[in-house]
């Protein structure tokens, strides 16, 4: 019985929102014609609906737009940018502090290596090997670039042209990350 009443109320609510099918609408009409309680319920809902439809709109205070633009200007001001720089400096200082023990260990190892001729010889040998292989890799890259230049000069020019585009893209990406990190919205909405 209670469920039936709830169902009828839902139909009445939908009728008020114009969301009933024609069949449902005629069923509601019949119900209202025969049941005085339902008719009273419907009248109360309709009066509420009318009141809400006619409710006044609150106008924004006169100064609101100016206040918003001032807040926006403040948020984008150099002072705030300076705040970001200070945060960056603090971050770098923290990293340096964390790296100090590591640097101390590396220094101790270097002193130990210098004090032993065998270890020192080994370190120099490894360094020479590393530098040699880096030079070899660089030579191969230069040779490859020369071959490409001879085979198709247009392709190599296009590749050179991509460098400023990539740099611009990285700068833009950094800017958009700053905006997005600054404030997240609850819903995308759009």
């Amino acid at each position: 019985m209670a469920n039936e009443r709830e169902r009828r109320r839902t139909q009445m609510q939908q009728a008020i929102d114009d969301a009933d099918s024609p069949e449902m609408l005629s069923a509601v009409r019949e119900q209202l014609a025969t049941d005085a309680d339902d008719r009273a319920d419907f009248d109360r809902l309709r009066r509420t609906d009318r009141m809400l439809r006619a409710a006044p709109q609150e106008a924004a205070p006169e100064h609101l737009a100016l206040k918003i633009m001032a807040a926006l200007a403040q948020r984008l001001s150099p002072e705030n940018m300076r705040g970001s720089s200070a945060a960056l400096a603090i971050g770098l200082a923290a990293i340096a502090l964390l790296l100090t023990p590591l640097l101390a260990v590396v220094g101790w190892l270097a002193i130990a290596a210098i004090s032993s001729a065998t270890v020192l010889g080994g370190v120099f040998g490894q360094l020479t090997l590393l530098i040699g292989s880096l030079m070899g890799a660089l030579e191969r890259i230069v040779a490859g670039a020369q071959d490409l230049m001879q085979a198709s000069p247009e392709a190599s020019l296009a590749l050179l042209g991509l460098i400023p585009i990539a740099v611009l893209w990285m700068i833009r990406f950094r800017w958009s990350s700053e905006w997005n990190d600054d404030d997240e919205i609850g819903a995308d909405g759009g």
């Binding site: 114009d18 009066r47 009318r50 905006w179």
Partner: protein, 216 residues
């Protein structure tokens, strides 16, 4: 189901069709604002400040807090303009930001709701200076409705405000409040029932509200 109520709904539909698209001028302002033009963003603020403020006030029930919330909604919109989809309505996008922000604020405030059995609090006008009679009536109506809205939960209130003040459909409200259409229907129906019960049970409904109910 009389002819009058059908006409009311027809008028609403006509208003609604204007809500689903974004005016080309508004799109120009958005594009310019995206390029850093703050004057273009100021145009957007002037155009939509009333809508955003009204939404915030109806959900938060506090004029000072509504101002803060409206300001925050515009700032968030500016900072996230890049995410706005130009194929959708800018106003809807902006109101989505505002309504979600207001609901978050209300949740943080952890408001204690009055029981619906409690009588309505008496109306108080915000100023002591005499006002013209019609201004007083509109203010009474506005505040009287607000007293009623205060007594329903925030999620219900947001649904009612988006439905009645902005004429959004169930589907649009569901998208804005990130929930399902059936949840929105349920919230709207319960909210309307609660409001009807409040109006029906109290003997202290101000005359200004009675005028609205009778004349619409």
């Amino acid at each position: 189901m009389d002819e009058e109520s059908v006409n009311e709904r027809g008028a609403s539909r006509r208003e609604k069709s204007a809500l689903s698209t974004t005016d080309p001028i508004v799109l120009e302002w958005v594009t310019a604002a995206l390029g850093g033009d703050q004057d273009a963003f100021a145009e957007l603020v002037y155009t939509y400040q009333d809508s955003v403020y009204n939404l915030c006030y109806r959900i938060l029930s506090d004029r000072v807090e509504a101002e803060d919330a409206a300001q925050e909604a515009f700032l968030r919109a500016y900072l996230n303009l890049g995410r706005f989809d130009a194929a959708r309505s800018f106003k809807t996008w902006l109101l989505t930001i505002a309504s979600n922000h207001c609901i978050d604020r209300l949740r943080r405030r952890r408001m204690k709701f009055l029981s619906i059995d409690d009588p309505l609090p008496s109306l108080t006008l915000s100023g002591d200076e005499p006002e013209p009679e019609d201004v007083t009536i509109v203010r009474e109506q506005s505040e009287g409705i607000q007293r009623l809205l205060d007594q329903i939960p925030p999620d219900y209130r947001a649904a009612i405000v988006l439905r009645y003040w902005y004429d959004y459909s169930y589907t649009e409200i569901a998208a804005m409040l990130e929930t399902t259409e059936s949840a929105i229907k349920s919230r709207l129906f319960r909210a309307r029932q609660m409001l009807a019960d409040l109006i029906g049970d109290t003997k202290t409904i101000p005359g200004a509200l009675t005028l609205l109910m009778e004349n619409g």
